[in-house]
């Protein structure tokens, strides 16, 4: 303990931080409440309740189709970026070669890179191949921004697992790929699963690349929402927002369950765990 519990500063600290947390969480809660509003105008607190904005969303093709497209793009992005990201993470963490650090920089740099700059660069590239407005453009673009996330998550797991067990497998006669499949991958599987889940989420919510590279035929849900929010505040957006708030909560729960069950399985098999 850093301070004694009776420290006079502690209640003040709690009060200040509660306000900060309220600042973070209240806007989201308000949108959730407002989505059950019955009136045409957004009211808080709502005077009458209804599910009409949800009916509006599920009943209209102009919302359902973008949602299905977003799910498809997010799925493809997830598969591509998990494969590329896990491979890159293994190469970067286990490999011993010159230029490893600069390469690591290069691979994670899309995380801080202004998306709009990438968007106009990709637009110029894809325009030459007539890919702008095609789903392929978004598969590729989203994979560029989602892969670094997978790399960071999987690398962190690789750094905490003992590479000696891989050496042991190799010295017992297992080849490189056999070791990878039977030793390395099972050890980092939870991180690969969470990397994949977050890559899915990143693509599903992505706006900037979608508005620059998507055409009328490739309107993703965020692109459709963006077009709507720029011109008027349609209460249907509150219902969609509520559904979009649930997605990360589900994903965070799945990741937590996967990590926990894996840690449980590992300890019953009396293998040393990495303390995650």
């Amino acid at each position: 303990m850093i301070e004694t519990p009776r420290s006079p500063a502690r209640p003040l600290l709690w009060a200040y931080c509660s306000l900060t947390l309220a600042f973070l969480c209240t806007p989201i809660l308000i949108v959730v409440v407002v989505s059950f509003n019955a009136s045409e105008f957004i009211q808080f607190p709502p005077r009458a309740w209804s599910l009409r904005w949800y009916e509006n969303y599920f009943g209209s093709r102009q919302w359902v189709e973008p949602t299905l497209l977003s799910l498809r793009i997010a799925f493809v992005t997830m598969v591509l970026s998990t494969l590329l990201g896990a491979a890159a993470a293994i190469g970067l963490t286990r490999g011993r070669f010159r230029g490893r650090r600069p390469l690591e920089f290069f691979f994670v740099s899309p995380m801080v890179m202004p998306t709009i700059v990438l968007a106009i660069g990709l637009y110029l590239l894809f325009a030459r191949f007539r890919l702008v407005g095609q789903p392929l453009a978004l598969y590729l673009a989203h994979t560029v921004v989602a892969t670094p996330l997978v790399i960071v998550i999987v690398s962190a797991a690789l750094k905490t697992t003992d590479s000696a067990i891989e050496l042991a497998a190799r010295s017992l006669g297992a080849g490189y790929f056999r070791t990878l499949w039977h030793v390395t991958l099972p050890a980092i599987l939870p991180s690969v699963v969470s990397g994949a889940a977050f890559a899915f989420l990143l693509s599903f919510d992505e706006v900037v690349l979608a508005i620059f590279l998507g055409g009328p035929a490739t309107t993703t849900l965020p692109k459709r929402m963006w077009e709507s929010v720029r011109y008027e505040i349609d209460p249907t957006l509150t219902a969609i927002s509520t559904l979009l708030v649930i997605v990360p909560i589900v994903i965070l729960c799945v990741v937590a369950v996967v990590r926990r069950s894996f840690a449980g399985a590992a300890s019953t098999a009396s293998r040393p765990t990495d303390g995650e």
Partner: protein, 267 residues
């Protein structure tokens, strides 16, 4: 290394193309960069971006440091709860969160409704489409990027050092200011750099919550490319922004360690 080939083709190559576009028209020229420095409106966008980013970084630190500190001193279960309360908004779509602020702060938004209902004001107060709206929205999105690097460093501080200081007669305040605070500074710099970099390149929130006076560098790029269709100039703006962000990123990730900036705590 298939990953490398993919990144070279879909990431490095388009950026190189951007560089080429920014210097040619069709022969080699510096006119696109000259335009940026010649036109006061463009310099104003640059100043706006700098001003917003500095403010957002400072506010995020002011809110984030105490929060990360609280997370380090409470018990494990409470800490998990606090982290979840930051993680859920963090992973919620930026568009949804920005839209939430439009619902709350808009002209016919909830705050204006309530204030007018209570008779505090007779006509709506402008809370968005100005600097205030942009700052509120951006701090909301970027605050977690301050909290996680801070938490990462703070949880590794050896608390027995603080206990030792206390047992040697330091007051809680002295122990905090002379032991804990200096040891947490790497987290402060990592968080500030990360938030600043992301703020400089941020597009969604300034585009939705900013007004005409808050044209940032990123919204300027959109304007130039979409409305003026001047791709060469747009490319030069992009390269300029990229140079600033890239230099800061390389500089600080070398100084602070790349792991501090990208950190795995968010998952």
């Amino acid at each position: 290394m298939g990953s490398l080939a993919f990144f070279l083709a879909i990431y490095l190559y388009p950026l190189t193309r951007l560089l080429v576009w920014s210097f040619f028209s069709p022969g080699f020229t510096l006119e696109h960069y000259a335009k940026l420095f010649a036109e006061p409106a463009y310099m104003q966008a640059l100043r706006n971006t700098a001003e917003i980013s500095v403010w957002v970084t400072a506010l995020s630190l002011a809110l984030g440091y105490p929060l990360a500190y609280l997370m380090t001193v409470v018990s494990g279960r409470v800490r998990t709860l606090l982290i979840v309360l930051v993680l859920v908004p963090f992973w919620t779509s930026v568009l949804v969160r920005t839209f939430a602020w439009m619902v709350i702060l808009g002209k016919r938004g909830i705050i204006n409704q309530l204030l007018m209902g209570w008779g505090v004001i007779d006509k709506p107060v402008a809370l968005i489409y100005n600097m205030l709206g942009v700052q509120i929205g951006m701090v909301h999105v970027l605050l977690p990027f301050m909290v996680f690097p801070l938490l990462n460093v703070m949880t590794r501080i050896d608390t027995s050092l603080v206990t030792a200081a206390r047992s040697l007669g330091a007051s809680p305040r002295q122990a905090f200011l002379r032991i804990f605070l200096p040891l947490s500074l790497p987290g402060v710099s990592a968080g500030c750099v990360l938030v600043f970099l992301l703020a400089v390149g941020f597009y969604i929130t300034p585009a939705l919550l900013g007004g005409e006076g808050q044209v940032t560098f990123t919204t300027l790029i959109e304007l130039v490319v979409r409305d003026l269709l001047d791709w060469n100039f747009g490319a030069s703006l992009g390269v300029f922004l990229l140079t600033i962000v890239g230099t800061l990123f390389v500089l600080f990730s070398t100084l602070l360690g790349l792991e501090r900036l990208t950190g795995d705590t968010r998952a």
